[in-house]
């Protein structure tokens, strides 16, 4: 349904189309809305499947509310990571090290030495470790001229190694009640983890759509040479993007540590793939220059809802991974189709 909306080109200034309703819907401003609508449809479909397969669960309003929050809570840490990842991908890069940065930040924040400084010290440590490691990625890529894929792949290996070294390969239990309470606290009935996700998504949306930083990110990702000629310090900006991704990882590390009441070097396994996949099905182009935060959030929610749907139906993880893979392929195919149809229309 979203594709038919794009099939007609946006009205040109020379010949404005009459009718205010249709023109907004087909305008460029509505493009993200149209794109996200597909994901909303998928989400609704998944929930309908859940209702059909487990009607006895969905007939209990308390359970439905709990389930809604469970899905959001399980999406919270990966959602925060995906916001950072979306910025990096829009800026023309990729960050394969996010899972490893979470593990390093989580492990560093839960060492006995750090825990002795209390919750503030733990949060500070996780965020500083995340930002610093992210900036190291950025420096290697911007100034060391490493391909992002290689630089962050190297960081993936190195950061997990350092995390294993620091933790002595043990699971480090967090004995800090304030940190552990993050996962159990509710404010006005809404879990704190969900609120953190909401704040990060809102901040990401404002940063991308309402600030020069966001505009520059799109410009750098769309055409770095043009961005450079337009006076943007492309190298510095790229470095900041990886720092931003690292910051998100630091926040996610605290959220995940709180949920698991512990941290270890193997935590957040394969988060990089989940975050990239969520960003892509949310409509972010891997080649950079285009993407939305809200789309990425829907991408994360789709995955989290699938996990929930499979859990309540006692289906195995293998089938779940196959379905996930299928959704990624379909989402990218739809994107390509939309792009092709646009370009052929423009050629006419």
């Amino acid at each position: 349904m979203t594709d038919t909306a794009v099939a007609k080109p946006a009205p040109t200034p020379e010949a404005p189309e009459p009718g205010p309703k249709t023109s907004w819907w087909k305008s460029d401003a509505a493009e993200p809305v149209r794109r996200n609508l597909g994901l909303v449809v998928v989400l609704i479909l998944l929930i309908i499947i859940g209702v059909i397969t487990r009607p006895e669960l969905y007939s209990d309003p308390t359970w439905v509310k709990n389930n809604f929050f469970t899905i959001l809570q399980q999406a919270s840490a990966i959602g925060v990571v995906t916001v950072g990842m979306t910025f990096v991908i829009i800026g023309g890069g990729i960050d394969l090290s996010v899972g490893a940065i979470i593990a390093l930040a989580g492990v560093w924040a839960t060492t006995l030495a750090t825990q002795s400084y209390g919750a503030g010290g733990m949060i500070f440590t996780a965020i500083v470790v995340g930002v610093v490691v992210g900036l190291i990625n950025g420096v290697l890529i911007s100034y060391g001229r490493l391909v992002p894929f290689i630089a962050t792949l190297a960081m993936l290996v190195a950061a997990r190694g350092l995390a294993a070294q620091i933790s002595g390969k043990q699971t480090q239990v967090s004995s800090n009640t304030t940190i552990n309470a993050i996962a159990t606290t509710r404010i006005l009935g809404i879990p704190l983890l969900v609120i953190i996700l909401g704040v990060v998504v809102a901040a990401g949306w404002v940063l991308l759509n309402r600030t020069t930083f966001g505009r520059r990110t799109v410009a750098v990702g769309g055409n770095p040479e043009a961005a450079r000629l337009a006076g943007i310090n492309v190298k510095f900006h790229t470095m900041l993007l990886y720092g931003l991704s690292g910051l998100c990882c630091g926040i996610a590390a605290i959220m995940l540590t709180s949920q698991a009441t512990s941290a270890q070097a193997a935590m957040a396994n394969l988060y990089e793939l989940d975050a990239i996949a969520a960003a892509i099905i949310g409509g972010t182009l891997l080649s950079g220059g285009r993407g939305t935060i809200i789309g990425a959030l829907f991408g994360v929610l789709v995955f989290s809802t699938i996990t929930n749907l499979f859990a309540i139906n006692n289906l195995s993880t293998e089938v779940q991974n196959m379905v996930k893979g299928g959704i990624i392929v379909v989402a990218v195919l739809v994107q390509q189709f939309r792009y092709k149809s646009l370009t052929t229309l423009l050629k006419r």
């Binding site: 560093w108 060492t111 070294q165 620091i166 390969k169 480090q172 698991a260 309540i312």
Partner: protein, 347 residues
């Protein structure tokens, strides 16, 4: 441990370079790994110092608390004997690296080799090579297919673990008078043979009691994956009677998810026997009521038996004059009443 925590040093990642420094202060190695009282000569004639034995040891780099405990236990046990010289080599990242490391070790001619192979099938040739060179091989936990490749094999019982958990849950359910209990299972990494064996044992034991698993989720042996899968399982089963979690390390996350969901209407059984789990069972303040062992104490036993093999002695309680060829440890069930006895075996 508290003395370490008081050692306040620079924290917070002023630079990643400080990592090594931090590591030194935060090592979580258990303080006491000696698990058998070895200097009580009256009780055990074998404890008396004898002929000097050089034990070569090789285990994979630890990626999990259990493997870390294997290496720590072996080291500590060897240190308890005045007549044992312990030589450990890094097994490296994979089977090939471990083969290379073992080739070097065989050339040095230790009295006995104790190894936990990356993979029993892939390290079979190294076992054969050592045996051919006249060095007895003690295989820890991952069996060689070839009986000529080892002098002694000591391993845990994954199937038995599942059976022990199933039997405990069945007995508890009968005690409570629950006729058809709703049982959940949180497994480890599903592609591993050991996970499948554990699940098989669990299912068989439940089936014998006319029970079955209502929902099974597979985690990844990590706390955060345990939390994730448990959160899903708890949503799937709004009312549950019993839960078996395969691994106590991931159980930290499973217990966290249970607390976060505010659930306590069921009993939970753990797996492997970590220190945290044993402490929780003893304290009896959570849903965790039991854990079934797959104890890394087998590394301590392996070192003790390697010493006896090196000294040509048998096990004092057995009539035979030599150490047996195969030992499969029984999976034991730790509950509140016997938790104190197991406290020192936790990892």
């Amino acid at each position: 441990m508290s003395s370490l925590s008081r050692r306040r040093i620079l924290f917070g990642g002023a630079a990643v370079g400080a990592g090594a420094l931090l590591t030194a202060c935060t090592s979580n190695a258990p303080q006491e790994n000696t698990q058998v009282n070895t200097d009580n000569e009256e009780a055990n004639p074998n404890a008396a110092p004898g002929q000097k034995v050089i034990i070569g040891f090789s285990a994979p780099a630890a990626d999990h608390g259990w493997i870390a405990a294997i290496t720590n236990n072996a080291k500590a046990q060897a240190a308890a004997y005045s007549d044992v010289e312990f030589r450990a080599v890094e097994a490296g990242a994979d089977a090939a690296a471990q083969r290379a490391a073992l080739a070097t070790m065989i050339a040095q001619k230790p009295s006995v080799i104790v190894m936990l192979p990356h993979d029993g099938k892939e390290l079979n040739s190294s076992g054969l090579e050592a045996m051919k060179a006249g060095i007895p091989v003690v295989n820890l936990d991952r069996a060689f297919p070839d009986a000529l490749a080892y002098r002694l094999q000591i391993k845990g019982d994954n199937y038995g673990m599942g059976v022990a958990a199933g039997n405990y849950i069945a007995a508890q359910m009968k005690l409570k008078g629950v006729a058809s209990p709703i049982i959940g299972e949180i497994a480890g990494i599903d592609s591993l043979e050991l996970t499948q064996e554990r699940t098989q044992g669990f299912n068989d034991a439940l089936k014998a009691n006319g029970m079955r698993v209502a929902n099974r989720r597979a985690a990844e042996f990590t706390a955060d994956s345990g939390q994730r899968e448990a959160a899903g399982l708890l949503q799937a089963l709004p009312k549950m009677d019993a839960l078996w979690n395969h691994d106590d390390d991931q159980g930290i996350g499973v217990l966290a998810a249970i607390n976060q969901a505010g659930r306590n209407e069921f009993i939970m059984v753990g797996g492997a026997g970590s220190k945290a789990a044993i402490d929780a069972i003893a304290a009896d303040n959570s849903v965790l009521k039991a854990t079934v062992t797959y104890s890394p104490s087998m590394a301590s036993s392996a070192i003790s038996l390697a010493r006896l093999i090196g000294q040509n002695k048998g096990m004092s309680d057995l009539v035979e004059l030599q150490v047996p060829k195969e030992i499969t440890l029984a999976s034991e069930t730790i509950v509140k009443d016997n938790a104190a006895q197991y406290a020192k075996l936790g990892f």
